[in-house]
């Protein structure tokens, strides 16, 4: 831009952007790989002109200018082409000549991301690092009467129950009277949360399923994965691996035509049905799959035409109220599988979670309650929903669990927690903290993408362009040129690594606490935190 040009309100300099590309002329070989890989075309080949004044100290000789030029990288400042800091350019550069650097101050770009009146939408998580889960410590170490256990050699029962569990008196009576006992699944307490076929690329989805199957069949870890709202590929529906899958139904009912038609041909029942009423990343808002991700395959599985945007309504439209909807949906889903499959709702973290829970406790079919806290991730949402809407998971789970304890139903309706588990990389510690606060298990999505597929997204708004189908890692893209970057088998292998590593870490937490024979759900006497108010609120020990 020339200095005498009029500037527009949205004229930004590189300094105003969140990410600045540092490029080293000496190292660059001008191979062009960075410009080719950049998912958002931020960088382009630039021709730079330089003036070199020719100054002579000899009297009488005239001073002249010589102009040279060099080729290099130019960073665009147009908000539509802003650098997202993914550092794919760094990754492909043979000479390490280029790297994005985070701006040293709050960027000005965010004030201009609403061109055409369209607010900023993105993937990822709430742009705030850390959280209360990371601060919780496990303080009750067995040091006295009994020694701590050996995490490597002891037998550990690290499984949880998903399903409505009857009170012992009733259960015993029903067994002897041959009454109907709700189906209960014994599962691994770390569930891969709902990420749809569509939001995820086919390679990512297949890799996840393959990894889960391996964990179950080869390592005897009953890991379960939820489909998210996008249906389920027909071959999986008719395979024996369906038992490792939690089918999700949400307000768009995507894929359910296919699922219902497949029921007579199913070799096995699915693990469970999750009715999604809300999610942590965009509470009170529906799915947001845009047309450019809806290719033929996705359209076929979801039962829609291809190339159309698929925004789901915020809530299920067929009933008057949530209470009624929950009750009716739960019942019809039970009916569909002959009362053999647990059905439970998932809601976003909210201050009204207790009311939902109270409704469920009175519904003898409700198999559990999953709550997704404000730190949950997504493939697409409005930035404002992600950053400002929702309830933190720790207090939500705690309140619900303590409420169940008060009414004596703490073993009857398992609670599952999600939303920011492993946000800072501490998945086992976060999961253990939530379990001891009262969760029967946790759901994770984003961590799995990061650990199993190398997702680059972060809470300092790195990458997070999952919504536009240009995922540089091929995780959330439907473009074969991108998703073939992801190798199915390697994703599967990473899934196995992640679960095995998690399992060992969990033992390393449980063993010193002297717990091995059952999952320490609600063992809050083992928890401490150095934040007095948080300790009071969570009803755990204040320690400094």
């Amino acid at each position: 831009m020339f200095s005498n040009r009029p500037i527009t309100p949205s004229s930004l300099s590189i300094k105003d952007l969140p990410w600045q590309i540092l490029w080293d002329k000496d190292k660059c070989t001008l191979c062009g790989q960075c410009t080719a890989v950049c998912p958002v075309n931020t960088i382009e080949l630039g021709v730079f002109r330089q003036r070199e004044p020719q100054v002579s100290l000899e009297p009488g000789e005239i001073t002249s200018n010589q102009h040279t030029f060099y080729y290099g990288i130019r960073q665009k400042t147009d908000p539509a082409y802003r650098c997202v800091g993914c550092a794919m350019c760094t990754m492909v550069c043979p000479n390490d000549a280029i790297i994005p650097a985070k701006s040293d101050e709050v960027d000005k770009l965010k004030f201009h991301l609403d061109r055409g009146g369209q607010p900023w939408r993105r993937g990822g998580r709430r742009n705030v690092a850390g959280g209360v889960l990371d601060q919780i410590k496990f303080i009750r170490i067995s040091m006295l009467t009994d020694p701590a256990l050996d995490a490597g050699r002891h037998e550990f029962a690290i499984t949880s129950l998903l399903g409505r569990i009857l009170p012992p008196e009733e259960n015993i009576r029903f067994v002897s009277e041959n009454g109907w006992i709700p189906p209960v699944r014994e599962i691994y307490p770390l569930i891969i949360g709902g990420m749809s076929f569509g939001a995820l690329s086919p390679t990512m989805w297949e890799g996840l399923q393959l990894g889960v199957a391996y964990l179950n069949e080869e390592l005897a870890m009953p890991v379960r994965i939820c489909t998210g709202e996008g249906g389920c590929p027909p071959r999986l529906l008719r395979s024996r691996f369906l038992k490792y899958v939690i089918l999700q139904i949400a307000s768009g009912y995507f894929g359910w035509d296919e699922i219902i038609h497949a029921i007579p041909e199913m070799k096995t029942d699915p693990c469970a049905i999750e009715i999604k009423y809300g999610q942590g990343a965009k509470p009170g808002d529906g799915g947001l799959l845009m047309w450019y991700k809806v290719n033929k395959l996705i359209a076929a599985i979801r039962g829609v035409p291809s190339g159309v945007s698929l925004p789901s309504p915020p809530t299920h439209q067929t009933q008057y109220s949530i209470e009624e909807s929950v009750a009716k949906m739960i019942q019809s889903m039970y009916m569909a599988w002959g009362f053999r499959v647990p059905v439970y709702p998932k809601i976003s973290g909210t201050s009204t979670a207790l009311a939902v829970l109270n409704n469920l406790t009175r519904n003898p079919y409700a198999a559990s309650l999953a709550i997704d806290g404000e730190d949950g991730g997504t493939g697409a949402a409005y930035n404002v929903s992600m950053n400002h809407m929702g309830h933190p998971i720790a207090t939500n789970i705690r309140d619900c669990y303590l409420n169940l304890v008060t009414v004596g139903k703490q073993n009857e309706i398992p609670l599952f927690a999600g939303g920011g588990v492993g946000k800072s990389g501490n998945m086992a510690a976060n999961a253990a903290a939530l379990i001891m606060l009262g969760a029967s298990g946790v759901q994770v999505g984003k961590y799995i993408m990061q650990a199993a597929a190398g997702c680059l997204g972060s809470e300092s708004d790195r990458c997070n362009i999952c919504n536009i189908g240009l995922c540089p890692k091929g995780i959330t893209s439907q473009d074969p040129r991108l998703y073939r970057r992801l190798d199915v088998d390697q994703v599967a292998q990473r899934i196995v690594d992640v679960f095995l590593g998690f399992d060992t870490e969990l033992r390393k937490i449980f063993a010193p606490l002297g717990r091995s024979t059952s999952l320490p759900i609600g063992m809050s006497d083992a928890l401490g935190i150095s934040d007095y108010n948080a300790a009071e609120r969570l009803n755990i020990k204040y320690v400094v």
Binding site: S142, L149, I165, P168, I172, V175, E186, G408, M523, D525
Partner: protein, 376 residues
Amino acid sequence: MCRLIAITSDDPISPMVALEALDVMREGHDGSGVGLLLRDLGGPFEQIKDAPILSGIFSDRGLKRLDRYMIDIGFMTKYKVTLKVPKTPPEGVPKRDMYLVRAYEYPEEWDDFSPEQLQARLLQIRLELRKMGEEKNDMIVFSFWPDTIMIKEIGDPLEVAEYLQLDRKSLDARVIMAQGRQNTNYEIDLYACHPFFIQGFSTMTNGENTAFFPISRFLTSRNFPGYTGYQSDSEVFTHILHYTFSALGLDLETYKHVITPLENEDLKDHPSGEFLKHLKQSCRKLIIDGPNCVIGCLPDNSIFMVQDRKKLRPGVAGGRRGLFAFASEVCGLDFAIPYRDKSRDFQPMYLDTVSVGPDRQEVKICSQTDPLPLRH
């Protein structure tokens, strides 16, 4: 780690046998406290088997309040053992005004009560007395139940026994449970002392139950008035036993399945696997996390011993027809029953429940992999 002994004998014996056996095993306890349960009493109590006996420690003021309270609800003293103690207690034993063992006559209006009503009321009175005592710090109540005496005190078991002169005929009993305490707190609360007792069920334990907190919350939320206290993590063993029998209508064989259920693999092959799977799931909150050795006694005066799954706590059963004992260590058993066929001593492992019935014929061994007795 504490030391435990339970003795069951056709002929009433002195509690001193158990306390001396504890002394033999003293390497395992530090003499910081002793708890004693006597049932199936001999001596004068033999004649009044149905009369509820109140056991506890009272200050003079507390005793007055007790008398007033009992008279108000219509209970008359029928018989009492007066434990007159020397002026100065041995070192480490607190000075108390009165150790009370007193049998009462039921009020007349209780005559029409069903056994359940009666049991519920007895429990309620004990809890009320305990609450009164805690308010003014003038009474500690251990049990209020027919044919049952409990004595607990801080200090070395033998010294306490001599101080209280427990070697007296009136305290002879056919079932004796005793625990020598390994102290873990300086401020010892006698309510944290084993054995624990509720409506005829009693247990004592060594080891630590790390799953105590969620278990105790689960029991509390059963809304049964007796499920309170929990000054010790071991009290839940007694209450789980009570819950298993009273609320669930199950038996001793199944108690072990409640506290330490089998792994799923083993359940698949178990003849009662389906029932046990449901039990495991619905009683998940009662699964203990030991290591623990639990010794206890049932309302019918059977005694039993179970180990938890991890089997890190010692325990041995042995004896001869008419006289059996369960002890933490063989030396304790040797002291209590020197003449027995030692080759038949049995150390229960992680699947076993051993018991001796009220007929005292044999040590019955039940493995968790055995079929359960038929339920009706």
